[in-house]
Amino acid sequence: MSRRFRATPYLFLFPAVALIGVFVVYPIVAVIYYSFTDYDIVRPPVWIGVGNYVQVFADKTFWLALTHSIVYLLVTPTLILLSIGLAIVVNRKLRGIHIYRALYFVPAVSGSIAIGLSWRFLFDRTGLINSVLQSLGIIHEPIQWLSTPSLVLPIAMLLTIWAGIGYYSVIFLAGLQNIPEELYDAARIDGCNDLQKHWHVSLPGLRPQIVFVGVISSLAALKVFDEIYVLTNKTGGVLDSGVTMVFYLWRQAFQLQHAGYAAAIAIVLLAITLVFSMVNVRLLERQDADR
C-alpha cells in the first residue's frame, strides 16, 4: 500500500458523507442552536440563552410526555419474551409452518398508519371489541376505549407489541437455528425437561439477538409517534393521555410553531437517547466480561 495520498476512497465516500452531512449532522448542530433561541420558523431566531430549557423543565406536559415515553419502554421486555416464545414454537418442523411465519409478518410490512386506523376502529365506541364484549355479556354499556385517559397508552403499547412480535421473532428464529443441536441433546441427557432446555440452552444462545432486539425496540419505543397520531386522531388523547416525547415535539414544532421550544425538547430527547444507549453498551460489555 503506497503512502501517498489517494483520492479514490474519498470519492467513494463523498455522496454518502455529503448527504448525511446535510440531512443528519447539520440538523443536529442547528437544532442545538435553535434550542437557545426564540424561533417560530417564520421570523429569524432570537438568542434567549437557556430560557427554553427553564421552561421545558417547568412544563407539566413535558414531564407527562417523558413519563409516557418511559412507560412505553415496557413494550421492549414484553416483545423480547413473546417473540422468543413464538420463535421457539415456529422453530418446530411442522407442515405448513412457512405459511404461519409469513402470516405473522404481515403487520410488520403493512405500515403504521394502516394498522393504526384498523385498531382505532376496533376500539371505537361502536367498534368490534365492544360489540363482541357486549354479545358475550361481559359488558352492558360500550366502553369508550380511546377516550378513557388511562387506556390510550396501553392500547398503543398493545398495538406496538402486536405489530412487532412477528418481526422480532424472525430474528430470534435465525438465532435459534444457529444453536447446535448437540447442546439440546446434552441438556436432555442431563435430565432437562422442555422448559428447562430452553432456559439453559436457548436463552444463553440467543444473547446477541436479545441485545439487538432490546436496543432496536427500545429506541423505537422512545420515538413512538405514528401509533399515537392515528389512535388519537392527531389530538394526543383526552388530557394528553397519549402524548409521548416525539408527539409533544411534533405538536410544539409543527402545530404550534414553537420551533425553539421544540428544539429544546429535541435536545432533551437526544440526551436521554444517548444515556440510554450508553447504559445499553455498558450492560453489553459487562455481560461479555462475565462470560
Partner: protein
C-alpha cells in the same frame, strides 16, 4: 428366536410406532391450535377491514351480536373513496419515492461501504464511527432544521424531492453493506487489481455481483421502510396530488372522519400492494433480517 416370536415383536414395534405417531399427532395438533390462534389474532384486523369495506349501508358495522360477513357485498365504498381522493396518484407517488430512494440509497451506501471495508486511508475510522454515531440519533430530531432547509434552501417543500433526497443516505445501510464487503476475500480483489482493474471496476464488476444477496435484503428493507414512512412525508406533502399513500391515508381519516366503511376501503387499498410485494420477496426479506444480526 422362533418365527412366531419375531412376528410378535414386529407387531409390538408397529403398535408402538403407531402409538408414538398418534401421540406426536396429538402433540402437533396442540401446536397447530396455538399457531392458528395467533395467526387469527395477527391477521384479523386486516380481514375485518376487508370485510367491512365491502359492507353497504344495510349491513351494520358493529351490532350485538357482531355480523362480520357483509350480507349484500358492494364496491360502493371503494368508488366513494376513489371519487374523493386520488388514491391511484398516491400510489404512483409512493412507487416513485420508494423506487428512487431504494435504488439511489443502495448505490450510495454500497459506494461508501467499499473504502470503509477494504481500503486503508487517513480518517477511515473517524468517518466510520461518526456514521455509526448518527444511528443513535432519532430522525425526528432533525426534522425542524430539515423543514427549514426544505423551505428556505432547497425550495422543494410540498414536492416529492423533499421526501426523496433526505432518504438517500442511511448509516445503517452503509454498515450492512460494509459487513457484506468484509466477507469477500481480499485475494479476489488483489487479483483483479494486479490484472489492472481500477477501484471503480473492482467495486462494480467484482464486489457488487458477489454481495448481491445482501444487497437485495438491504434494498427490500429500504423499500418497505420508505413505503411506510409517515412523519417526515406528512410534514412535507400537502397538495392533494402530491401525497404518498400513508400521508393520503391519514388525510382520508380527516376527510371521512367516522365513515368507517370508506376508511376500511382506503386501508384495504393501501395494504394490498405492499402485501403482494412482501409475498413475492418474502424469502429474501426474512433471510436478510436474519443475516443482519449474527451471533
Amino acid at each position: 428366536m422362533s418365527v412366531l416370536e419375531v412376528a410378535g415383536e414386529g407387531r409390538a414395534a408397529a403398535a408402538m410406532r403407531a402409538r408414538r405417531r398418534r401421540r406426536q399427532f396429538a402433540g402437533n395438533a396442540v401446536w397447530y391450535v396455538v399457531l392458528t390462534a395467533f395467526a387469527v389474532v395477527t391477521v384479523f384486523p386486516f380481514l375485518w377491514m376487508l370485510l367491512s369495506s365491502l359492507k353497504g349501508l344495510s349491513d351494520p358495522i358493529a351490532s350485538v351480536p357482531p355480523q362480520l360477513i357483509p350480507g349484500h357485498p358492494t364496491l360502493d365504498n371503494y368508488s366513494r373513496v376513489l371519487a374523493s381522493l386520488p388514491i391511484l396518484t398516491f400510489f404512483q407517488n409512493s412507487i416513485v419515492v420508494a423506487i428512487l430512494v431504494t435504488g439511489l440509497n443502495v448505490l450510495v451506501s454500497a459506494m461508501a461501504a467499499y473504502p470503509l471495508a477494504k481500503m486503508r486511508f487517513r480518517g477511515r475510522d473517524a468517518i466510520f464511527y461518526l456514521l455509526l454515531a448518527t444511528l443513535i440519533v432519532p430522525a425526528q430530531l432533525t426534522y425542524i432544521p430539515s423543514f427549514i432547509l426544505a423551505v428556505n434552501v432547497f425550495h422543494y417543500y410540498d414536492s416529492l424531492p423533499a421526501v426523496i433526497l433526505p432518504g438517500l443516505a442511511s448509516a445503517f445501510n452503509i454498515f450492512l453493506m460494509r459487513q457484506a464487503f468484509r466477507g469477500v476475500p481480499n485475494d479476489l480483489i488483489d487479483a483483479a487489481r494486479v490484472d489492472g482493474a481500477g477501484e471503480w471496476r473492482v467495486w462494480w464488476q467484482i464486489l457488487l455481483p458477489i454481495v448481491r444477496p445482501s444487497m437485495a435484503a438491504v434494498a427490500i428493507f429500504t423499500f418497505v421502510t420508505s413505503w411506510n414512512d409517515f412523519l417526515w412525508p406528512s410534514l412535507m406533502l400537502h397538495s392533494r396530488d402530491g401525497m404518498t399513500l400513508p400521508v393520503g391515508l391519514a388525510a382520508l381519516q380527516g376527510f371521512f372522519s367516522s365513515d368507517f366503511r370508506a376508511i376500511a376501503a382506503g386501508v384495504t387499498m393501501t395494504v394490498i400492494p405492499i402485501l403482494l410485494f412482501f409475498i413475492v420477496v418474502q424469502r429474501y426479506f426474512v433471510r436478510g433480517l436474519a443475516g443482519a444480526v449474527k451471533g
